[in-house]
């Protein structure tokens, strides 16, 4: 990517752009991936242990409050993965970073998966606490809309065959979604205060007990590491697939 006349960038950006080479990415990711999995496993185990066995039960909600240690980090990840997709989308459209397309495509199903986890665990949390399987409270509704946007993006990936065009179309859609998400969140919060003042999921707020906060944060980190690991594997798969596509094209054109 750099020619003889441009001086090599220093420090962080040098590292960033050096990874821009898919070959380099494959080498580095192969080296670090096992350690990433190890770290993920350790943080996950610690977080689960603290959340399920050590942290105190809520005196009102009892044990089922422990669902929060999955539900809230899943919501965080749903948003974090979308943020990753947005940065990747900018990478595709603005900086033409070669790995940006790959990153976008790899992230979408994982983000959708986390939002599904959030919605399902939210449902299981709501039933014993409030008696209903579904509440249209602000967080659940916003996460539901986020899931719908994810599903639309995944549908768009599948609809366009050519990878370059698909990546650009999805990038635009992702950015349009990113602009709309704060508006949607604001409107859903507004809508919710009109209809239902009480929220099932207050426990995520700033008044949270520190013994409950620690497992929450640890699970947040564990989920983030988990996403990073899965994302890297999916990116590797996509890069290999594209190499295979290029080989297949060359073979096909030779057969004329």
């Amino acid at each position: 990517m750099t020619d003889a006349t441009t001086p090599p960038a220093q420090g962080f950006w040098a590292a960033f752009w050096s990874l821009a080479n898919p070959g380099r990415f494959m080498v580095y990711s192969a080296r670090w991936l096992p350690w990433l999995w190890l770290l993920t496993g350790l943080t996950m185990a610690y977080g689960l242990y603290k959340g399920l066995f050590v942290a105190p039960a809520d005196y009102q909600q009892g044990e089922s409050m422990r669902i929060m240690y999955i539900h809230v980090p899943a919501a965080w990840l749903g948003m974090f993965v979308y943020a990753t997709m947005t940065v990747s989308a900018l990478g595709t459209l603005v900086w033409r970073h070669p790995l940006a397309d790959v990153s976008q495509k790899a992230a979408a199903p994982v983000g959708a998966g986390f939002t599904v986890i959030c919605l399902v665990t939210g449902s299981f949390w709501g039933k014993p606490t409030w008696g209903t399987w579904w509440e249209w409270d602000a967080r659940m509704t916003s996460v539901l809309v986020l899931l719908l946007i994810y599903l639309g993006i995944i549908a768009l990936w599948r609809a366009i065959d050519e990878p370059l065009r698909a990546a650009r179309a999805v990038a635009i859609m992702t950015l349009v979604g990113a602009i709309n998400l704060p508006i949607i969140k604001f409107s859903v919060d507004w809508w919710n205060t009109l209809h239902q003042p009480a929220s099932v999921f207050k426990k995520g707020g700033p008044s949270i007990h520190p013994d409950m906060l620690e497992p929450l944060l640890v699970m947040g980190i564990a989920f983030s590491l988990l996403f990073a690991a899965i994302h890297i594997v999916r990116m590797q798969a996509e890069i290999i697939d594209r190499r295979a596509d290029r080989l297949a094209q060359r073979a096909a054109s030779r057969e004329d």
Binding site: G152, A155, L156, I160, R165, R168, I172, I183, I184, W191
Partner: protein, 222 residues
């Protein structure tokens, strides 16, 4: 440049009239939707009256949605999009003009007719003018969001379904505030806040959408 845009507008309106996808069809569709919903809900006046704002807004949303995939597809098939990209006016403005034409033929008539159809749903008289106002302010947002979806799905088969999937989540804020205007008015409450928020959303969307749609057309056509 203005002449070019005026030509686009004139062409759109003429085409709409000629192929029968004009004002009349959108109005008829709206009427049919409103007529059919009581069969599903039952003739209870009080229930219909409570649901009227939502039903009218949902019908306006669906009526807008239905014509959107043809917004750009016909032009793509006829090679008009290439011409648009080479015209004197920037592509963004051309697309905005097309969206405006679409709204004049779809959203505007709905906004004007909705209070009358609302009578069929026993809407409160206080809410009739606010209903028209909310649709007037809100339906452009629906059309312009649809423009982005149209730009992204223009060369796809069955693009209409994907278009709806892509843009419906984005129409949630418009729906929330649009219905809120009518509901507050029906309850005799002030409705300035949701109306202003609705206006803000429409403004943001009408500005952002042509750029996104133009980018989509430029970057994704073969």
């Amino acid at each position: 440049m203005i002449a070019a845009l005026r030509a686009v507008l004139a062409r759109e309106l003429t085409l709409a009239r000629r192929i029968g996808a004009g004002v009349e069809l959108g109005i008829v569709f709206f009427l049919i939707l409103i007529s059919v919903t009581p069969f599903a809900l039952g003739p209870d006046q009080k229930l219909l009256s409570r649901l009227a704002p939502a039903l009218l807004w949902l019908s306006a949303l669906l009526a807008t949605l239905l014509g959107l995939d043809r917004l750009l597809q016909a032009d793509e098939e006829d090679g008009v999009i290439d011409e648009m990209m080479m015209s004197a006016a920037p592509l963004e403005l051309v697309l905005a003009t097309k969206a405006l034409a679409h709204w004049l033929v779809t959203g505007l008539p709905l906004a004007v007719l909705a209070p009358l159809l609302g009578l069929m749903l026993a809407i409160s008289p206080d809410a009739m003018l606010p209903l028209a106002l909310s649709l007037l302010v809100g339906t452009p947002a629906l059309t312009f969001i649809g423009l982005v979806g149209a730009g992204l799905t223009v060369s796809l088969r069955r693009g209409g379904l994907l278009l709806s999937v892509l843009i419906l989540p984005l129409t949630v804020p418009t729906l929330i505030f649009g219905v809120a205007v009518v509901r507050e008015a029906a309850a005799g409450q002030p409705f300035a806040t949701p109306l202003t928020l609705l206006g803000a959303i429409t403004l943001i969307i009408t500005v952002v959408s042509p750029f996104a749609a133009a980018a989509a057309l430029r970057m994704t056509r073969g």
